[in-house]
């Protein structure tokens, strides 16, 4: 986890993922061409409960609070959220 800078991306987790990863928010450095799916897979390499981010369970992705596909390229300042399929209503 790094301090927020102008070149940072905010990553949020919700519900079961938030609990199992014991993480609500973290900050990563933006990298040219980095996609949301690539970020997810790189987080999975942290091991332990993070390994589930590598396709083991369905993970939904939102960028700047809009649902998106894994191939979405991330920009500095973006807010990325990873969460389980939604179950409201």
């Amino acid at each position: 986890m790094t301090m927020a800078t102008d070149n940072s991306i905010t990553v949020k987790f919700f519900a079961r993922l938030r609990e199992e990863l014991d993480t609500t928010t973290l900050t990563v450095e933006a990298q040219p061409g980095l996609t949301a799916g690539q970020l997810l897979r790189s987080l999975a390499t942290k091991g332990g409960s993070w390994a589930q981010l590598d396709g083991e369970q369905p993970v939904m992705i939102a960028v700047n609070q809009v649902m998106t596909k894994p191939d979405r390229a991330l920009q500095p300042g973006d807010e990325v959220a990873f969460f389980p399929p939604v179950t409201g209503g």
Binding site: F14, R16, F83, P84, P85, V86, T87, G88
Partner: protein
């Protein structure tokens, strides 16, 4: 009107507000969802509801706009509660007014179905001694897809 809140709501108040949507309104359809005693688990005594503040409201606004494109929607009021809820508590309210009943029924059902599969809310079931994050149901996805 879209509200995400911890506190309970009064459907009668929402209904009164819907009745003030103008003289062209001829039909009001409302839906209220409650906490029941069995879901993924049996013996459910309560729920915990989490949401993604900001995105939730944005997604529901989009659903109301989509409903307005498809049907005559004079007004819509949607309330979804978050936080800790007990058995039989109200969870969600959707109320729609239209000129005619067909549009009111359809828009209300569409908003509710699409909310369940696209608005970022998550339910955790609580029983005596266990907690369980509810799994998304294929039947709910099918219902949403049936509106495509």
């Amino acid at each position: 009107m879209i509200r995400v809140q911890q506190q309970d709501f009064d459907p009668a108040e929402e209904y009164r507000a819907l009745r003030n949507s103008g003289s062209g309104t001829g039909a009001i359809a409302t839906f209220t969802g409650l906490v029941r005693d069995s879901g993924d688990l049996s013996g459910v005594t309560g729920l915990f509801l989490e949401h993604y503040p900001g995105m939730t409201e944005q997604v529901i606004e989009g659903l109301v706009l989509e409903a307005s494109r498809r049907w005559d929607v004079r007004d819509a009021r949607i309330i979804h509660r978050v936080g800790s809820l007990a058995l039989a508590d109200q969870i969600v309210f959707v109320g729609v007014c239209s000129a005619h009943r067909g549009d009111a029924f359809a828009a209300c059902e569409f908003i509710m179905d699409a909310l369940k599969t696209s608005a970022p809310f998550w339910k955790k079931e609580i029983t005596g001694d266990t907690e369980h994050w509810v799994e998304q149901k294929a039947a709910d996805l099918d219902r949403t897809q049936s509106w495509d």
